[in-house]
Subunit: 358 residues, 2 copies
Amino acid sequence: MTYERSNIASMTGYASGEQPDDPQTIKLNTNENPYPPTPSVSKILADIDPMALRRYPPASSLAFREAAAKIHQVDTDNIIATRGGDELLRLVITTYVEPGQTIGMSDPTYSLYPVLAQIQACPIQREPMTDDWLLRDNFAARMNEIGAKLTFVVNPHAPSGSLLPIRRISEIAEELDGLLLLDEAYIDFVDHDYPTIPLINQFDNLIILRSMSKGYSLAGLRFGYGVAAPSLIEPMMLKTRDSYNLDLIGQKIAEAAISDQPHASETWSKVIGERARVAHSLKEMGLYSSPSQANFILVTVPPSMNCSAGTIYQKLKERHILVRYFDDTTTADKLRISIGTPSENDALLSALDNILHQ
Amino acid sequence: MTYERSNIASMTGYASGEQPDDPQTIKLNTNENPYPPTPSVSKILADIDPMALRRYPPASSLAFREAAAKIHQVDTDNIIATRGGDELLRLVITTYVEPGQTIGMSDPTYSLYPVLAQIQACPIQREPMTDDWLLRDNFAARMNEIGAKLTFVVNPHAPSGSLLPIRRISEIAEELDGLLLLDEAYIDFVDHDYPTIPLINQFDNLIILRSMSKGYSLAGLRFGYGVAAPSLIEPMMLKTRDSYNLDLIGQKIAEAAISDQPHASETWSKVIGERARVAHSLKEMGLYSSPSQANFILVTVPPSMNCSAGTIYQKLKERHILVRYFDDTTTADKLRISIGTPSENDALLSALDNILHQ
């Protein structure tokens, strides 16, 4: 017999990008930052006293939250630290969405959202986007119509990298009857000043997600955080979060990483520069991408090419270069390619040139 | 307005034991192991390449699971690695218990269970125990009567440290209509051979929880695991677990710790020896405890004493010694005291002697 709940039995789970064991593989499939994290990491690891590990860690990640609050010029009680952005997404659903209530999102979007909705037995509603991968003007109105208790907006958008004007974020937060989860996992790669955090003082229904995985080169650490009004943060901090959700070592490294803004910014600038170069070179090969403000680009393989997107994905993989191919209706002719180091990007461009002209 | 779900709004959350900043405090309140973790920890920390942190960690903690499977002589697919035992408890509820279904447990028990039930909007049923802190003979029958979809049994029991015979575990698993979560967070401190893991091959409704926090001196790492039939492990691995639930550093340290059984066993022996000594000395002061197989003892303060349990807790705290006082009906005259190093235990005994005879 199965003991699973019916909503769990009927779901398939989240498929994350491939993580090959082979260290020679060029990984441009999971949007990791190609540059190392802050040099402080080595010192922190060297300074960890193993004896300190026998005790429970600081329960609320206070030192990290203070550092993040300082960077963002908000209060510590505006911040919750979580195990990657993923834990924040789950906590928001657990805390604020009853089983059976609808969760809204764009189509396409980050593929974890529907999975988390299924776990809570919540129906989802997906709204199509414009041809430029932006939310349609009636997005918030549609969310209200379908009674969305929670709406997920990933901005810069995944998998396209498109960016909404801040004014649009305000309008959507203002108009929505329910909560707005603004997923800013890729925000660090925007090439101009883009201050959304102050919006949390204006809207008591807005939760902003930040991640240390991409911007701070710490995907292996599992650390993220949420920024919102204290009324939204507190129930997650005191009630629904696993007690001691973050380990001692992770808290120390994340605190050092967010405090070293100069190091992180330098990696962002390098990625932004390479993003422009890669997009330009791909365009010269006939592979167009819409403008991206993230650390990846979504490339369209036109029907006139001698290869489909799926075939190119396979042929790159044979050459030990991984990119991401989503085999669904809106993206079946596209590849999402993370921006790597200059030499990784060169290897990609050269392999693509070879595949398309063989 | 509040956006919280009604079940969340009406709950208060889990209160973990105090974690003072003062390093001079003698902490005998949260059952941490007083001895350091495996000496391999320092080498692992020194060998971490910060560049490796920029990539996502192994998603399923395979190397740790292989090491744990080898120790327990089960298959890798019998094991799920989790962020402390707490994540496993949550995953079992999320995966197997519908909101509204009843969760059963003894009274008293680990105080996190009712909190996790509230988060899932599940009613709970608490069954009183015998005077020796054992489950009554009709425990499983009662759980079936009230329709428990899931029953939590912590063994050794918290907060008393009592241990059920293995035969009783079998009988309960056999008789229960629903799932049995056997929480073995303290099992490493049992003073004799006590093989429960093979029971998972016999019962497809049994999930055994293990923790690295106490037995392996790694409370700061947040690492635990579940052992069960693959049919129970798989839905949690593939569907309800946060993708990448464990970070790279934690996986490496936990793997080394579980593989160094000689080191861990030595800490267990020392704690077991001190447990007997502390219990004996307390008894001579008139403070009785029932036999404990955990790394703590539950001491009763008799009405004839000049101090109540609450007062002793306060007076110890003034002397920078923390023990745990649960102010509820079944334990209001008791203190739960973790076993520390010999010198910590001496300080406790001397302070108690002083408090009781002043």
